[in-house]
């Protein structure tokens, strides 16, 4: 049946709603090959038998069927890439501009490039807002106090605050810090906010 491989590709997206599986280059290649073959066959049939109607019926039906398959395959390919990009965009907001290595290794070269470009446009947009820029990635929730207490969940090592002081972040150590300094680390899962 036509479209089975393309379906497998989309299924891959559906099975990983919140994570990026490795970019399946070989399957993408196979789907585009299928499309190419279908298009070529259609062209051939359309040229050779435009007038004659063979006893076994019109090739128009055949061409229509192949064309439907081409459309289906295209749609699946597009959906695969589009949904991956959407996840990637979400990651920019949640992981920050630097992706963990194991995620990065799952991306295709084109996706890596897209991510870099997206980061760049986002950064330049944030710089352009207001007088001296606005970091849209912080204060996603209205702050209740300027300082918050956090618990460190990983051995992070030394971390420098904006005012130049250095902290040693060890697993399970507690800190009381300006909220603005912590927010990103909380989002990245280094800290846990304690109420």
């Amino acid at each position: 049946m036509y479209g089975e491989k393309a379906y497998a590709l989309v299924k891959e997206c559906a099975n990983h709603e919140n994570s990026l599986p490795p970019y399946n280059a070989s399957l993408v290649q196979e789907v585009s090959n299928e499309i190419r073959t279908l298009v070529e066959e259609n062209q051939e049939d359309a040229q050779t038998s435009t007038e004659e109607t063979s006893d076994s019926g019109s090739v128009v039906s055949t061409i229509r069927l192949r064309h439907a398959a081409v459309k289906r395959n295209l749609r699946c390919l597009m959906a695969y890439h589009y949904n991956r990009l959407r996840l990637l965009r979400k990651m920019r907001w949640e992981f920050g501009s630097i992706l963990p290595a194991d995620i990065k290794s799952n991306l295709s070269p084109a996706e890596i490039e897209w991510f870099a470009k997206y980061s760049r446009s986002l950064a330049s947009y944030m710089r352009s807002v207001g007088d001296d820029g606005l970091n849209l990635a912080v204060d996603l929730k209205p702050p209740k106090s300027l300082y918050i207490e956090v618990k460190c969940t990983v051995d992070y090592g030394r971390y420098e605050l904006n005012d130049g002081t250095v902290l040693l972040l060890k697993k399970d150590s507690r800190h009381y810090l300006p909220r603005s300094e912590c927010e990103e680390l909380v989002r990245q899962g280094v800290f846990e906010h304690i109420l």
Partner: protein, 562 residues
Amino acid sequence: MYVEDLKKDFYEFLAGKRVFLVVHYDIDSICACKILQSLLRYKHVSYSLAVVRGLEDLKTAYHENCADVKYYILLNCGGTLDVIEELEADEDVTFFILDSHRPTDLCNIYSNGQVKLLSLPDEDVGVPHFHDIFREESDEEEEDENDSEGSGSEDRASKRRRLDEESIMKRRERRLWEENRDKLVFDYSQFTYYARASAIRLFELAWQLNKEDKDLLWLAIVALTEQMLFGKIENTQYTLEIGPLQAHANRLQNMTNDTDVLTSLKIAFEKDLRLALYRHWSVEDSLKYSMFTAVKMKLWSLRGDKKLHELLADMGFPLIQSRQAFKSMDLQLRKEFHEVLEKLSEKYGLQDLVYASFTLQYGYRNKYCAADIVYALLAILEASPRDKKPEELFNLALDCLSRSKKEVLDSAIERAKIIVKTLFKTAQSALDLKQIITAGPFVYYIIQEGCLDWYMFSHLQILLLLAHFILRAYVAVSRNRKAPSLPLVVSAPKSMDAGTCIILGIPPLCENSPKNFFGKAFEQAAERINCDSKCDYFDTSYFEIHTKDRTRFFDALTALLS
């Protein structure tokens, strides 16, 4: 150096600075830490927090951070050592120390500002005078220098004679002074004991700053109750401390604000029974396993068991009801429980069963007495699964104290019951198997490595509770007339891999005072047999040696004390 004005020289001084909190791994410290945290929050003092269990931890915590942070607050640790020397601290680092361990190290008391003690000066008893301990070395050197410079050639001989005499006198004087000093220092540091809980001191600071509320008061109460339950302070001291806290409780109760009405948070001063966790257990179990009743009625024996049932019958409590969870007992019985037991206490030799304490009530269902919380915290800190790290448990204990995490508290209380049961059973088997051995000047009990619950007893506070239980049980059954005047030494395995064990000594019952002389004794005994020992604990009545040295160590201890 003592900080006289906590508000000005400690609290306001810290505003805007980065602080590092070093907190000892015990209940008082956790309460104190929570109070301090809420105070620091008002001033937006950013802090980091580390938990330490001994000197080694303290050193690591300091050395990991000394490059970045200049102000350290040490809670219940460091007071008994010369911190500057032990930590090899830089000159620009300041230590604020609030430590309930005593005696405070003299170098800390007479530090010129680098070490600041937050406790009250009169809590340290018998501190020797500065000039009896420290001597200006520089004077002598100067004199020596003058001498060598001014020595002419002609009267050199006579001068030398005079000098000789002088220096002999000086040396003699110095030797006398040194002897005197050693004696003073020994007298001063002979006993280890506990001063008032750090949490109370910090609560008073909060009061001074008008930042106190019921939650902070409750923390102070829990800390005080811990000291009393674990026999760290005398009963009179407990009674003295509880007065002001009661006044605070009344005052805060009258100052109710809106949120209190919503949650109906209430701290009540009440008479309570010396029964472990009875509100969350069944009456029979609590009576049977609590140290107080178990020792008084010798509940480990068959006769004791009968007596217990007799008591229940006298109280008019059917067995079915007394085996029921306290909460689901008949309302009538539940109401009468206190009264009836108090009335019968004399008949069954349970005088002093009642003591003054506090209960915390919030919502419509939650009622905990201070002792319940102490047991729950103990269960979290010292009876959690082995793979949990101390930092995790410390965080869990902090959670347990916040009212929103009720499930943490409830599961901890369940585990606390197991501790109480295990203490009882261990004491029972120690008596049955006659494992409590008299060694002349003291009795001792060794928890063998094969023992099922050895891991539980490798923790300090639980071991302390066991020691109290065993000593009291021993005195209750012993035919030896001298028994009440004998101290007890217990030993439990610390680490199987390293082959080490903890030794803990507690003073005899008759002294009725928690002042503990074992710290020095252990040190000397270890010196005598020249064994490789480690004293990592801030409470010096604990000692750690290799298990293979234990027999020799006990021999040396016997020789030393007799």
